[in-house]
C-alpha cells in the first residue's frame, strides 16, 4: 500500500481549487429540481435505505440500546418482505464489541467513531490508541475527526500526518475522515480539507459529526463530491462519500442521490462508495416505501423507533 501511494504526488494544499459560493449553491439547488417519480422513486428509496449508517452516538448509549439498534438494522420493517438492510451501524468504540456480536454474520458493517470524537481535542497517542481499540474490537470502519483547530491555523502538514497515522492504525478497516464542515467556515476550506484527507489516505470523506450545526448540506456535499471526482481523475483512486447529520427526510435523501448520479455517476451509486450518516432517515424512507406500495401513508406508530 505504502509503496503504491508514494507514486501519488502530494499537491500544495494552499493551492486547492477555489469554490464560488453563489455558484455552488445554485448548482446544488438545481439538483432539487429533478422530479423523481414512480419506479425511480421506489428504486431511489430502496437504494438510500441500503446506504444508511444507522447511528447512535450518545453519552447515554448502553449495550441494551446498541443491541436493539442492531436488531433494527437487520429487520427494518419485517411487515414488508424483501427490504434491503442498512449498510452499517455506527457507534462509539466502547460499543463496538456489542454491535459486532449483535450483527453476527448479517453482512452489516460496524463503524466506530474514534480519535477523541467529536472534538478531536486530544493527543495523537490517545487518538491512535482509540482507533486501535475500536479496530481490535472488530470495527470494520473507523470514523475519525480532523483537528479543526490545527487546520484553521494553517497547519496542513499536522492534519495530513495525523490522518495518515490513523489510517495506518486502522489496518484493514476503512477510514472515514470527518471534516466537520460546520466548523470550517467556507467552501474553500471544505475543498482544501477534502484534498488533505484524500491525499493522506482517507477511504471516505465525511461531512460532519452530527454534533455541530450546520451538519451536512447539499452544497457542502457537492464541494466534496467534486473533490472526489478531481482526485479520481488525478490518481485513478475512488474515494467514498458520507454526508452525515441533518438528513432525515426521504425527499432530501433523493436529492443527494440525484447529485451523486450527476457528479460521480454509476460507479459510486452503491453503499461501498456512498453512505448516509443518519438515524431518523430510515423510518422516513420506510414510510415512503410502504406508501409507494400501498398508496397510503401509515401512522408513525407502525414503524419501530430504534
Amino acid at each position: 500500500m505504502i509503496a503504491e501511494k508514494s507514486t501519488i504526488k502530494i499537491p500544495n494544499f494552499s493551492l486547492s481549487p477555489r469554490v464560488d459560493q453563489v455558484g455552488i449553491e445554485e448548482r446544488a439547488a438545481r439538483f432539487t429540481k429533478r422530479s423523481i417519480k414512480k419506479e425511480s422513486k421506489m428504486n431511489g428509496l430502496l437504494l438510500a435505505l441500503n446506504m444508511i449508517d444507522l447511528t447512535t452516538l450518545e453519552g447515554k448509549d448502553t449495550d441494551g440500546k446498541v443491541k436493539q439498534l442492531c436488531y433494527k438494522a437487520q429487520h427494518l420493517h419485517d411487515a414488508y418482505p424483501g427490504l434491503p438492510t442498512v449498510a452499517a451501524v455506527c457507534v462509539y468504540p466502547s460499543m463496538v464489541k456489542t454491535a459486532k456480536q449483535a450483527l453476527g454474520n448479517s453482512g452489516i458493517k460496524v463503524a466506530s467513531v474514534a480519535t477523541a470524537f467529536p472534538s478531536g481535542q486530544s493527543t495523537r497517542a490517545v487518538k491512535i490508541s482509540d482507533t486501535k481499540y475500536a479496530v481490535a474490537n472488530g470495527a470494520d470502519e473507523v470514523d475519525m475527526v480532523i483537528s479543526r483547530g490545527k487546520f484553521l491555523m494553517g497547519e496542513y502538514n499536522f492534519v495530513f500526518d495525523e490522518i495518515a497515522a490513523v489510517k495506518e492504525a486502522c489496518g484493514n478497516a476503512r477510514l472515514k475522515v470527518i471534516l466537520e464542515t460546520g466548523e470550517l467556515g467556507s467552501y474553500d476550506k471544505v475543498r482544501r480539507a477534502s484534498d488533505i484527507a484524500m491525499y493522506a489516505g482517507a477511504d471516505f470523506i465525511k461531512t460532519s459529526t452530527g454534533k455541530i450545526s450546520p451538519a451536512a448540506t447539499l452544497p457542502v456535499t457537492l464541494v466534496m463530491l467534486e473533490a472526489i471526482r478531481d482526485f479520481y481523475y488525478e490518481t485513478g483512486k475512488m474515494i467514498a462519500m458520507k454526508p452525515a447529520g441533518g438528513i432525515s427526510k426521504s425527499k432530501l435523501a433523493l436529492h443527494y442521490l440525484v447529485m451523486l448520479k450527476e457528479v460521480l455517476g454509476e460507479a459510486w451509486m452503491n453503499n461501498e462508495w456512498f453512505r448516509f450518516g443518519a438515524s431518523s432517515l430510515a423510518n422516513d424512507l420506510l414510510m415512503q416505501i410502504v406508501k409507494e406500495k400501498t398508496g397510503v401513508y401509515q401512522s408513525k406508530d407502525y414503524f419501530s423507533i430504534d
Binding site: V19, G23, R34, S35, K37, Y232, Y233, G236, K237, A267
Partner: protein, 492 residues
C-alpha cells in the same frame, strides 16, 4: 491500484438508476383552435382572411391557427392605438396607469402555470425554464414598471417626461412572453400605447396575454396585439402613425428597420444578435465556471441573443475545463420539453434546426473538432445534442457568426491582453462573462469588454431593475431598469 495521471479514466453517467418520465400536465392550458387579432380591446377577424398554423416543435403537432395581419389590419391597430393614446391614456394619471399594470402583473402570476405550459408547447423550451424563469420574470417586469408609472418625476428630476405616442413593438421567438413584458410594461408606464407583433412561430402566449389585458379592463386600444410574419412587421415599421419602434431580433432585420425609418421622426431601440465571449482564467473556481458556461450556452437551447457562445479558456487549465465540460454535457437531459427533468428542449423551428446543422457542418469542414453528448434524441420534433467545438480559430465562421443554438466554440488564450482583444474582435457586443477569483482582474476586464452586459462569475442573470442592451451590431438603446424608461419618453 493507484496510477498517476491516467488519461483513460472516464465516469459513467448512464446509471442504472434513471429518472422516470415526469411530464407536466397539458390539461391546464386552454388553447383555442383559432386566434384572431386583438385590436381596440376585442378579438377581430383579419381583413386578410388568412390564418397560419403554429406548431409544437417538440412533436410537430399543430396547436392552433392564428390570424395573418396584412397592411390594413396593421393600419386598424395603429389607429386604435393612436385614438386610445389621444383620448384616454396620455391623459390618465400615472397612478391610474400603474393600477392597470399591477393588475396585469397579478393576473399573470395567478395564471403562471398555464402560461408556462403554453410557452413550452409553442416554443419548445423546457418547462423548468418557462416555469422558473420566463413567466415569473415577465410578471416581475410588469410589477417593476407599474411602480414607476406614478414616479416619473423622480426618474427624471427637474425634467418633464412626455410619452412618445404609439409604440410599434416586434418581438422574437426565443422568449415570447418575457419579451412582450419587456416591451409593453415600460411603454404603458410612461403613457404610450402599443401595437405588438409576436414572432410567427410563437404567438400563443402573447395572445393569452391579450386575454388577460382584456380581463384587466385596460382601456380599448391601449395594447393591440397582431400576429403575422415579416410582412406584418414591415407594415408596422413603415406605418406613419407609429412614433417608436422597439425591436428584438436578428441584426439583419435590425438593419432593415434602421433603413426603413431613416428620415422619419420615429425613435427606435434595437436589441439584436450576439456572440458573447465567456472567459475562464486559470484562477477561476473551475467547477462553477464550467456550470456557468453550460448554462450560458445551453439555456433555452442556446436560443439566447446574449448566450455565451464563444468560450475562451486560459491554456494552463484547458484540459481540465474541457474534461469537466464533456462530463457535464453527458448529464444534460435532452427531450420532451414538458418533462420536468428536461434540461434542453426542442429547437424552436425546423428552419432554425437546419441553420444549426448547417453551422455544425461548417465547423467540421473548417477542421474544428466536434464533441457531442451521447444522449438519444426523440424521433419526432426538432432536437439537437449539446455540442462543443474545440480546435477553433478566431477566423472560423463558427466563432464569428451567431448560430443561435446549443453550440459552443472553445478557444484558448495565454494572457489577459490577448483575451480582451480576441473577445472584442466581433461585430457584436451584447454580453460577456469573466470567471476569476481575483477581484482586480474582474474590474480590469469589465471596463475593457465592449459589451452591454458583463457578468462576473455568473452568467445569464436578468432582473427588471437592470438595464440590458448592446454595443456595435448588437443594437442600441437599453431595456430594463431606469434606463428602460428613457426609451419611451421625450424629456422637456
Amino acid at each position: 491500484m493507484a496510477k498517476a495521471k491516467n488519461n483513460t479514466l472516464k465516469l459513467k453517467f448512464d446509471t442504472s438508476w434513471n429518472f422516470a418520465p415526469a411530464p407536466e400536465s397539458k390539461s391546464i392550458a386552454s388553447i383555442k383552435d383559432k386566434y384572431d387579432l386583438f385590436i381596440n380591446g376585442a378579438f377581430v377577424k383579419p381583413s386578410s382572411k388568412k390564418y397560419f398554423k403554429t406548431i409544437n416543435p417538440a412533436n410537430e403537432e399543430v396547436l392552433s391557427e392564428v390570424a395573418d395581419a396584412n397592411a390594413s389590419d396593421v393600419d386598424k391597430a395603429a389607429k386604435a392605438a393612436h385614438t386610445a393614446y389621444d383620448k384616454v391614456w396620455k391623459k390618465m394619471s400615472g397612478k391610474e396607469r400603474g393600477k392597470y399594470i399591477y393588475r396585469i402583473a397579478r393576473m399573470l402570476q395567478e395564471r403562471a402555470r398555464e402560461f408556462a405550459v403554453i410557452e413550452t408547447l409553442d416554443g419548445g423550451k423546457p418547462i423548468r425554464e418557462s416555469r422558473d424563469f420566463d413567466v415569473p420574470t415577465a410578471a416581475n417586469h410588469f410589477f417593476y414598471y407599474a411602480g414607476w408609472a406614478d414616479k416619473l418625476e423622480y426618474a427624471f428630476p427637474n425634467r418633464q417626461a412626455q410619452p412618445l405616442g404609439v409604440a410599434g413593438q416586434i418581438i422574437p421567438w426565443n422568449f415570447p412572453l418575457l419579451m412582450a413584458a419587456w416591451k409593453i410594461a415600460p411603454a404603458l408606464a410612461t403613457g404610450n400605447t402599443v401595437v405588438l407583433k409576436p414572432a410567427e412561430t410563437t404567438p400563443l402566449t402573447a395572445l393569452k396575454l391579450a386575454e388577460i389585458i382584456q380581463e384587466a379592463d385596460l382601456p380599448p386600444g391601449v395594447v393591440n396585439i397582431i400576429t403575422g410574419a415579416g410582412a406584418t412587421g414591415a407594415a408596422l415599421v413603415n406605418h406613419p402613425g407609429v412614433d417608436k419602434i422597439a425591436f428584438t431580433g436578428s441584426t439583419d432585420v435590425g438593419k432593415f428597420i434602421q433603413r426603413a425609418i431613416a428620415g422619419t421622426n420615429k425613435k427606435a431601440t434595437l436589441e439584436l444578435g450576439g456572440k458573447a465571449a465567456n472567459i475562464i482564467f486559470e484562477d477561476a473556481p473551475l467547477d462553477q465556471a464550467v456550470e456557468g458556461v453550460i448554462n450560458g450556452i445551453f439555456f433555452n437551447q442556446g436560443h439566447v441573443c446574449c448566450a455565451g457562445s464563444r468560450l475562451y479558456v486560459q491554456e494552463s487549465v484547458y484540459k481540465t475545463v474541457l474534461r469537466k465540460l464533456k462530463d457535464r454535457i453527458e448529464t444534460l437531459i435532452v427531450g420532451d420539453p414538458l418533462d420536468k427533468n428536461t434540461d434542453i428542449g426542442a429547437i424552436n423551428s425546423k428552419q432554425q434546426l437546419e441553420t444549426i446543422h448547417k453551422y455544425i457542418k461548417i465547423g467540421q469542414q473548417e477542421g474544428a473538432e466536434l464533441h457531442q453528448s451521447s444522449c438519444a434524441l426523440p424521433g419526432k420534433g426538432f432536437y439537437c445534442r449539446p455540442t462543443l467545438f474545440t480546435n477553433v480559430a478566431q477566423s472560423s465562421r463558427i466563432a464569428q457568426e451567431e448560430i443561435f443554438g446549443p453550440v459552443l466554440t472553445i478557444q484558448t488564450f495565454r494572457t489577459e491582453d490577448e483575451v480582451i482583444e480576441k473577445a472584442n474582435n466581433t461585430p457584436y457586443g451584447l454580453s460577456a462573462g469573466v470567471w476569476t477569483d481575483k477581484g482586480s482582474k474582474i474590474f480590469n476586464m469589465t471596463t475593457k469588454m465592449r459589451a452591454g452586459v458583463v457578468w462576473a462569475n455568473t452568467f445569464n442573470k436578468f432582473d427588471p431593475t437592470s438595464p440590458f442592451g448592446g454595443y456595435k451590431e448588437s443594437g442600441y438603446g437599453r431595456e430594463g431598469g431606469l434606463h428602460g424608461l428613457n426609451a419611451y419618453v421625450n424629456l422637456v
